[in-house]
Symmetry: C2
Subunit: 341 residues, 2 copies
Amino acid sequence: MKKGKATIHDIAEKLNITASTVSRALNDNPRISENTKKLVLKMAKQLNYQPNHIASALRSGKSKLIGVLVPTANRNFFSSVVRGIEDIANELDYKVIISQSYEDSEKEIQNIEALLNARVDGIIASIGKNTENFDHFQKVLDKGIPLVLFDRITNQLDVSQVVIDDYQGAYDTTKHLIEVGCKRIAHFTSPKKINIYKERLRGYEDALKDFDIPFDPELIEESNMQLEDGRISMENIINKGIEFDAVFSSSDYAVMGAMQVLREHKISVPEQVKLAGFGNEPFTSFTAPPITTVDQKSIPMGRVTAETFFELLKLDGKKGNNQKTVLKPELIIRESTQKSN
Amino acid sequence: MKKGKATIHDIAEKLNITASTVSRALNDNPRISENTKKLVLKMAKQLNYQPNHIASALRSGKSKLIGVLVPTANRNFFSSVVRGIEDIANELDYKVIISQSYEDSEKEIQNIEALLNARVDGIIASIGKNTENFDHFQKVLDKGIPLVLFDRITNQLDVSQVVIDDYQGAYDTTKHLIEVGCKRIAHFTSPKKINIYKERLRGYEDALKDFDIPFDPELIEESNMQLEDGRISMENIINKGIEFDAVFSSSDYAVMGAMQVLREHKISVPEQVKLAGFGNEPFTSFTAPPITTVDQKSIPMGRVTAETFFELLKLDGKKGNNQKTVLKPELIIRESTQKSN
DNA sequence: ACTATTTGAGCAATCGATTGCATATTTATA
DNA sequence: TATAAATATGCAATCGATTGCTCAAATAGT
């Protein structure tokens, strides 16, 4: 077996034509006759020719790779978005490099660096919770490399972005809680005021206002929003003796923690306290009772993000108008907010 | 701002030396004097030189990319393994391309193809459930490209692999169920007889045997092991009126489904029926009661897999002995198997 | 029939880094 | 001091595909 793989030169030699012609034929260049193209294709198949993307990338400056940077792939939301991106990208013959920042700013910077070194044609990213300086993203923009942000965005950058309407999702959820009779709705949010948490808080506040329910700062719990944090927040509220009849958490994980604590305190859900989360993580449908939450339309978000990205790519560095797409979230009503009468 | 980025030629020009020297200096080649190296490094910094990995890959044939193929990144186990792999890879200045087969054989083949086209230096993979033909992996081996399989393996390939001791994990779990008093233990498994399910079934059977509990085929439920499948399996057993006092499922998702059905039938866990899963997915600790399961040591598995991979890479195509590493799993005992007396 | 135009294909440079071989300079050895 | 050995660097080919430019042949236009 010949070790070296077939190149366009091998094809050219066999057909007594030049490599240029082969290259053009393979790229369906109109300057090449149909007949020659057919011959080249056939010979390529016969020699089991596999294009060397590295060589092509070097010469053309296009790697056909997209770098996708997410806080963690291990979350239904992010992995679904990635799936959506992949769907579109693969159709267009692009490959996706997934890179995780693990919510670590330093790693985020390194990963961006690494992706650029890998000569990706562009980057799609969701910003880590702890990132407050955006120079590394600005650098990408400065180089004219296509960049699209999704979900975790910042308004400190002039960049295309895709988000869901976090405000609306939170508003709808809060409204729903009010409609099933809640008047003392606790809200779990993050001290990190990244866009998504700010918007959700705002939606919560506006819904209260619209239904003439007073906003009580005592009902706001700030934390890192993991399961354990949700437990602590819930314990806090209970221990302080604060009256409450619902929890609306900006994170499914935190609401899960709250539910555990309520159970330990023999406070029944939804009879005594109603619960709602955000994110529609699969486990929210597993629990007893299943938890009301907000679906973030992850797959559409992935697809829209990819489409936005490829439009940007088509501009080829020419400054176009940055797109901001806002998707409608969907309130998924489950047993945890069932009206108890 | 100069658009074109600095190359080794730019550095060379500034220092009045040749690109070869610069290249060697940057690669810390011993044939270059310390002094020159220092100068080159300084100038590289000054010009903000970023090596072009594409060019380097083309010439050297090494892309410093590892392709990682998993059924889905959206599972704690797989994403943790990937994390372990990344840890090691990044230390060695390698980047990881994550690629998902979504348990689809066709996509698995395409992804392998795509990874090879991206000229990865090697591949780390976990085989999709439905894959029965392994030609695409054999092709990788035939090309002398390093390949390591983890968790979902096959003995039809002569390849390095890393697994946990599924047999032991299942044996320990079954033994534990017996020790807390169970005598009629149902087992959920997959009709796809990939290694992990086969081994777990074997562990279950052997534990029964060792404790003189008869094996009853009526207690074996085969399915695709998702949550919904677990529900169906549980319904089957209940509807057939088969006596049982425990379920040991080869999948956490399926056991979750079983738990839901039991709850709906007002069968209490763990008092009437004890439950155990496999995989230690995070949600197993969220549920009420939390579910006993087997931890698969995902991060160590990732690290060991990566280490095995890099050993293979060092051999540079020379046939070495294939390594098979077996990690010890850990039984995580939770409330769902609490002894009720 | 003769020039103008279109079509098809070849030539050679190029992308940026690597590397085998040759050469120049310095140091060690006899 | 002449020669061998070691050290430091340069030269030029190379990896495989792409592409601007040139050129030849075929077709069209008058």
